[in-house]
């Protein structure tokens, strides 16, 4: 079909056509974008058909070439004494790797790409290894992508409640075809491979090895220029972002690629660009995380300590969960998602004088009390509140007299919720729109105060506010839990929760979880002002 015919179709009809051509997940695109992709897919299909005929003939001759290369490498000569004994004069500087190692030279790397000319690394490889790699290449072939994935904005598309995937999940995902992808490489065997290594916070290094038949097939499909691409995969394979592209000479076997941002997950792809700058990928690398530079982490919001006596075997623990390394903007979403998934049956009510007010677990606080709320209600309430990293009740407090407890520091340290991986899962949020229904007091350290502040005086516009901390967590249901010395019941699913009036002077809470063997793991959670003085243990 031509462009005109496509343009006459409705969008749902275009999507049907796209599915027939193997293109999916296009519903968010505009109609004209879908038409472009359909036309590209049609052209690729036609080229692939033509290329597969040529490459099936080329394969036999290519294998002959490989055998010859193996023989050459096997005859590599051993080093002669002459080659090594000349170095006497240099010896004194060598063994002394000590001094030069520690000199603090200023990093001199520039952002200029530097090609390294490296001879094909596989020369001399035994034939059986090549066959194995051919099989690997066959599986790689199905994972290559089309040009449709360029520069997708992850922030725009990522579901609001999604956690960033772990490095391992990303690694697994890049082995799968991406949405909308169709294979563009020939059916014939061959070896394509590209590897990505982190060199320093500014640079990646990648090297590759492409089989002649793949390169030829890409050329036959319209490929004009060999190019490298670097994608940010941190938000997952479906939301990858192209961060760097460069064309490179076909004799190059390695390249240094500039890092766009630190502590992000990347992959590299090598392939060809055609006349229309469409991407014909040949190989995709492993994932690599860019290195951290001199940016220090914020002071910890949560400090977890564990005990591992060296003369005892390390405890067997559950596999580590991915660390929810969230940005401030993610925190509210995450909090909501956690609260929804926990399905809390909230039964907190006014419990004055008790050591804590519990939100989690219907068996925890004795009998069900009237006025209990559903999990949805709690989620709604918390969703409306500010979370770590936000100003607390800023607009509401501004211009008003704040009575009772002042909002300490009005910021939670670090704007980051640190989830622990093993014994606990915790999250911390603010509840600054407390309502009488859930009002309660909390005693920690023997102090009991009415949480709701009194009005400073008569008047129509008098207002008083206070802040409340909601602490929600999970541990092993059989563990004994205490928070700053107060025993806290744990629900049958291990969930626990606590609401604490947020007062100035509330520096930290220590949460201890003791397992049935008496082993204690503790978390220290810091609140309040970012004053180093009150962070000392």
């Amino acid at each position: 079909m031509g462009r005109k015919e496509y343009e006459e179709l409705r969008k749902d009809e275009l999507l049907d056509k796209a599915r027939e051509l193997g293109l999916t997940s296009l519903s968010r695109l505009r109609k004209d974008e879908i038409v472009d992709l359909l036309l590209q897919a049609e052209r690729r299909a036609a080229r692939r058909k033509a290329a597969s005929k040529k490459t099936s003939k080329a394969t036999a001759s290519a294998r002959t070439i490989k055998k010859t290369a193996s023989k050459k490498a096997a005859t590599t000569k051993a080093v002669t004494k002459k080659a090594t004994s000349k170095k006497t004069a240099e010896t004194r500087a060598t063994a002394k790797k000590t001094a030069s190692k520690k000199t603090a030279e200023t990093r001199t790397a520039t952002k200029k790409s530097a090609a390294t000319k490296i001879a094909p690394s596989r020369a001399g490889a035994p034939a059986h290894a090549e066959k194995r790699n051919e099989r690997r290449a066959a599986s790689t072939r199905s994972t290559v992508s089309t040009s449709s994935d360029v520069a997708t904005s992850p922030a725009a598309n990522r579901p609001a409640t999604a956690l960033p995937p772990s490095d391992r999940q990303i690694e697994q995902a890049v082995q799968q075809p991406l949405a909308g992808e169709a294979p563009t490489t020939p059916e014939a065997g061959g070896v394509n491979r590209i590897r990505l290594l982190a060199r320093d916070p500014s640079w990646f290094y990648c090297y590759w090895d492409l089989s002649a038949e793949y390169v030829q097939a890409a050329r036959d499909a319209g490929g004009k220029a060999l190019a490298l691409r670097l994608y940010d995969m941190t938000q997952g394979a479906e939301y990858r972002t192209l961060t760097y592209e460069t064309t490179c000479d076909e004799w190059a076997r390695a390249w240094f690629l500039p890092v766009a941002a630190n502590d992000r997950v990347y992959i590299a792809e090598i392939g060809f660009l055609d006349d229309r700058n469409s991407w014909l990928p040949l190989a995709r690398s492993n994932t690599a995380r860019s290195l951290l530079d001199g940016q220090q982490a914020s002071p910890p919001l949560v400090t977890r300590t564990v005990s591992h006596p060296i003369d005892q075997p390390l405890r067997t623990t559950a596999s580590p969960q991915p660390t929810p390394a969230l940005e401030a903007s993610d925190t509210a979403d995450w909090l909501n998602a956690q609260l929804d998934s926990h399905a809390y049956d909230v039964q907190a009510d006014r419990v004055r004088g008790s050591s804590a007010t519990l939100l989690a677990g219907e068996r925890l606080a004795g009998s069900r009390l009237p006025g209990s709320r559903s999990s949805a209600a709690l989620a709604d309430r918390v969703a409306g509140s500010r979370v770590a990293g936000s100003r607390v009740a800023g607009s509401r407090v501004a211009g008003s007299r704040v009575a009772g407890s002042r909002v300490a520091g009005s910021r939670v340290a670090g704007s980051r919720v640190a989830g622990s991986r093993r014994g606990f899962q915790t999250l911390i949020g603010w509840a600054d729109d407390t309502t009488p229904t859930l009002g309660h007091t909390l005693t920690l350290g023997g102090k009991t105060d009415a949480f709701y502040p009194s009005l400073p005086g008569p008047g129509d516009h008098a207002v008083a506010v206070a802040a409340e901390l909601v602490l929600v967590g999970r541990t092993n249901p059989t563990n004994r839990l205490s928070i700053s010395g107060n025993r806290i019941p744990v629900g049958p699913d291990g969930a626990f929760s606590l609401r604490i009036p947020f007062e100035e002077g509330l520096g930290s809470l220590t949460i201890e979880s003791e397992d049935d063997r008496g082993s204690v793991e503790s978390l220290r959670v810091w609140f309040g002002t970012l004053n180093e003085a009150n962070r000392q243990p």
Binding site: S70, A73, A74, T76, A78, V79, T84, S85, K86, K87, T88, A89, R92, A93, T94, A95, K96, K97, T98, S100, K101, K102, A104, E105, A119, R122, G124, A125, A129, R195, L197, A198, R199, D200, P201, Y207, R253, A254, N286, R289, L291, D293, Q296, A297, P300, T303, T305, V306, H308, P309, I310, L314, T323, A325, A418, S420, R422, R535, Q536, P537
Partner: protein, 532 residues
């Protein structure tokens, strides 16, 4: 509530990393690069051993961690190299006798030569007393509780760049642990990551082998998430439960800095002015005239003096006195740093790791200084403690994810991965992938197992970080390139000889395996199964 404060001001933990690349050339009667080991023995390992035994004899409380890399242990245990070291000592003795005659008219130089003569007496005495078993002598100090002997990756492979495929790292670690166990009769508890090269996830491999602690550079903690609450004055546990200690930057500067470090003191011996370069051919003995170029004799007669070519003769007594002053200064600074730490249940710790070869070789007075530090620390109430003992005493620490880092220039991987040496890695990675197949084929038959094992040795030796380091340092580049290529060529040759059905191809002479194995008989108990 304030914690109970310990009266102990804190701990000082020295970690000396002893490592040399595996250099052994039986195919040559003399080989210049073998001298690296001999120089280190004479100037570093034996003087350190003497210092530790003197402290033990004087009942000075001292404790430190000492890394002995598997390649260093293998060379110190090697019969051929021991025999050649004996020859080296004889050659040195011969040269000193000749120098006593040559310098008899110069009283100041005569004194220096006599100092070297006495020093050689001491070295030979230790060599005889231990029957050449220097490793065994260090093991006895471990048994006595003064040393915590740590292991290192099998051939000092730079692990962050070997992680593809993962079994390459696993093999480097497993072979090191098995080698240690075989040599010392116990499993190692701590490991020195080559060049402090750490990457997230490596701790899982360490845990698998029950390795419980390692050392990283300071910025691995600075960039950790969350930030370790006690900075670098306490270790952290990784998620795997393996502890990480951070290098104290200030201790490093005091010793390493070229501008302000102790070794720059004008009284100390000048490293570069060696009579091996300065004398005429006829003034040297045959041992130091071998080959086409001069080489160091380890007889150096001049003090650093200053930024001048007019050097003063070296005066060992003055240098030793200066080393004691520097030791007192070092202890004072560390105590001051420890006392600045906020009170805590567990006293703060300063971890001071150095290359062992710094002491005595690069910094000639280093062993004197180290001994004086231990004596001064004991007098001042500063407790020195090995890393293992520290973890035994204090086993509750914060958990953090530390950052990928190294202690190399710039702090990351770039010294071992740059325009000069990047060509190594595609070949190393590809060979490591092949090794898995070679191992799978090789272990099927008893007669092919040695072939697969030797292929593994060649791969391991090619993976040594020393080659990339030398290439980047632009020192003996040709030697490093040759070593890398030769090991890979032998690896390819052995791999090609092994047919997929596990038999040896008819074209391969089994005598060839013996020839290759004789060149690099490291890790005799290596089981290729480790790659599966």
């Amino acid at each position: 509530m304030r914690p109970t404060v310990s009266p102990n001001p804190g701990y000082l933990s020295f970690v000396l990393h002893g490592h040399l690349p595996y250099v052994r050339h039986p195919e040559h009667e003399f080989f210049v690069e073998e001298e690296w080991l001999f120089e280190a023995l004479t100037e570093c390992y034996i003087p350190l051993l003497v210092a530790f035994e003197r402290l033990q004899r004087d009942v000075v409380p001292f404790s430190l961690s000492l890394v002995l890399s598997p390649t260093l242990i293998s060379m110190l245990d090697d019969a051929l190299l021991r025999q050649r070291y004996r020859r080296h000592l004889d050659g040195l003795r011969q040269l000193i006798r000749k120098e006593l005659l040559r310098t008899r008219a110069d009283h100041r130089l005569q004194q220096v030569v006599q100092f070297y003569a006495q020093r050689l007496d001491l070295v030979e005495q230790v060599w005889r007393a231990t029957d050449g078993d220097i490793i065994g002598a260090f093991a006895r100090l471990q048994t006595a509780g003064h040393l915590d002997l740590m292991t290192c990756a099998a051939t000092h492979g730079y692990l962050p760049l070997l992680r593809h495929p993962p079994h390459a790292v696993r093999a480097q670690l497993t072979i090191a642990v098995e080698h240690y166990q075989h040599r010392f009769g116990r499993r190692p508890r701590g490991i020195w990551l080559p060049e402090c090269g750490y990457y997230p996830g490596l701790e899982q491999e360490l845990r698998r082998l029950d390795l419980r602690y390692f050392v990283v550079d300071t910025h691995a903690f600075t960039l950790a998430r969350p930030k370790p609450p006690r900075g670098y004055t306490a270790p952290v546990f990784t998620e795997a439960g393996v502890a990480a200690f951070a290098r104290d930057a200030a201790s490093s500067v005091d010793v390493w800095s070229r501008e302000v470090g102790y070794p720059c003191d004008p009284h100390y011996r000048d490293f570069y002015r060696d009579i091996g370069y300065e004398l005429r051919d006829d003034q040297l003995t045959p041992l130091f005239r071998q080959g086409e170029a001069r080489r160091p004799s380890s007889l150096k007669y001049w003090a650093i003096t200053g930024d001048t070519d007019e050097k003063r003769p070296y005066q060992p007594e003055q240098a030793m006195a200066r080393a004691k002053e520097h030791a007192a200064d070092f202890v004072d600074k560390r105590l001051a740093a420890l006392r600045q730490q906020p009170p805590a249940k567990v006293p703060p710790q300063i971890v001071a790791p150095y290359d062992a070869e710094l002491f005595g070789h690069w910094w000639f007075e280093g062993p004197w200084w180290l001994e004086a530090v231990f004596r001064t620390a004991a007098q001042c109430g500063l407790k020195t403690i090995a890393l293992q003992d520290y973890l035994r005493a204090h086993h509750t620490h914060a958990v953090a994810a530390i950052a990928e880092s190294s202690w190399g220039e710039n702090g990351y991987n770039d010294f071992w991965l740059n325009e000069s040496n990047a060509w190594i890695y595609p070949q190393l990675h590809h060979a490591a992938e092949q090794m898995r197949q070679i191992a799978a084929h090789g272990v099927r038959h008893r007669q092919t197992r040695p072939l697969a094992a030797q292929a593994a040795r060649e791969l391991l030796l090619a993976q040594a970080s020393d080659w990339a380091f030398i290439i980047k340092s632009n020192t003996v580049v040709e030697y490093a390139v040759t070593r890398t290529r030769n090991h890979l060529a032998r690896f390819n040759e052995l791999g090609a000889a092994l047919a997929p059905d596990g038999t040896v191809s008819a074209a391969f002479r089994l005598e060839r395996l013996d020839e290759i194995a004789a060149l690099s008989p490291i890790f005799p108990a290596l089981d290729p199964q480790v790659y599966l």
